[in-house]
Symmetry: C2
Subunit: 193 residues, 2 copies
């Protein structure tokens, strides 16, 4: 059994993701967990407070799921590991509500919370880039990929990741998604060899 506050957060993630901050109402969220909107105030100070709690959890989920993947891999199989990362991202985003929330919010944050959100997003992106760049440096040193700057290869790969995220946001069918992944990946991989 979940804590009531966790139930509320789960419902909030859902509605914030679908309708956005302004489009989601506390009444809606309350109804989802079987309570009136006033009762939410027993658990959170208000809409902003609820949103920021959800944001924090989504950030951790996003950061953890991205960084964890690269923690335990060696410097021997960039092709398998990079491609595996892309498919993992696709799987995660289709399953995990928090990642969809993070994506929407980082793209189009509610204006009065832009400052906070941009800071968090920047923090996450930086951490991911650092971890990934170390990996690419390893692959370059082991001559597994082309002898280019690790920074450039990292940015290029993150570009591929972004293009996949866009496809996920558009919510196209599985087939289109796979084609897009296949196309981007093959050209990318040929480009870094």
């Amino acid at each position: 059994m979940l804590l009531k506050s966790d139930e509320i957060k789960a419902a909030a993630v859902k509605y914030f993701t679908i309708y956005g901050y302004e489009g989601a109402s506390l009444a809606q969220i309350g109804e989802e967990v079987g309570m009136k909107k006033q009762s939410i105030y027993a658990h959170f100070k208000g809409k902003d407070d609820l949103f920021l709690h959800v944001l924090q959890e989504a950030k951790e989920e996003y950061l953890y799921s991205k960084i964890k993947y690269f923690r335990d891999i060696d410097a021997q199989h960039p092709e398998k590991d990079l491609y595996g990362f892309l498919t993992m991202m696709i799987d995660l985003f289709q399953k995990n509500e928090q990642l969809k929330f993070w994506l929407r919010v980082s793209f189009f944050p509610p204006v009065h919370l832009t400052k906070v959100i941009d800071k968090e997003v920047d923090d996450v992106e930086t951490q991911v880039r650092v971890v990934l760049e170390e990996k690419f440096q390893g692959w370059i040193d082991h001559k597994k990929v082309v002898d280019d700057s690790a920074k450039r290869l990292t940015l290029a790969f993150l570009g591929v990741v972004d293009s996949i995220l866009v496809e996920l946001v558009y919510g196209n069918d599985e087939k289109t998604l796979k084609e897009k992944l296949d196309a981007s990946w093959r050209v990318f991989w040929r480009g870094i060899q």
Copy 2:
């Protein structure tokens, strides 16, 4: 001097882009053009009607600016023309409010208008893909790029475009943008040769 209805549409684009459909109010838009929100009803049937008019114009702008570019180029210089397309996209998005609007709306449409919007977005994407695919076929025939399927190369390039759009949405500084463009482009170009 603009028509008043065009002024309203221009203000609407601005606020819809910044605050989203739910976050933008007619009062705000009216104030921008120096009239009361009720007066907007002399020009549009309501908020949805205004939004859909704006959507239609943005679609045409988006479609035209993308397709026009490829109309008048030959099959001889893919490197110059493809890279030129990317820099043009960057320029346009930084100047043109309607393209930012289109981007936001196509990513996260207001739920009750999802049907209409998705249809328009799909229409545009298909048209762009067709035009681009013809170009790639020409380059393949002239042996200017790798002998792969035109469809795959098209999707891969559109992936690069998407990754640039993401960067534009994030609104990072000029330097980061150029680095990202440089990285994605170099790897892509190496990958299709």
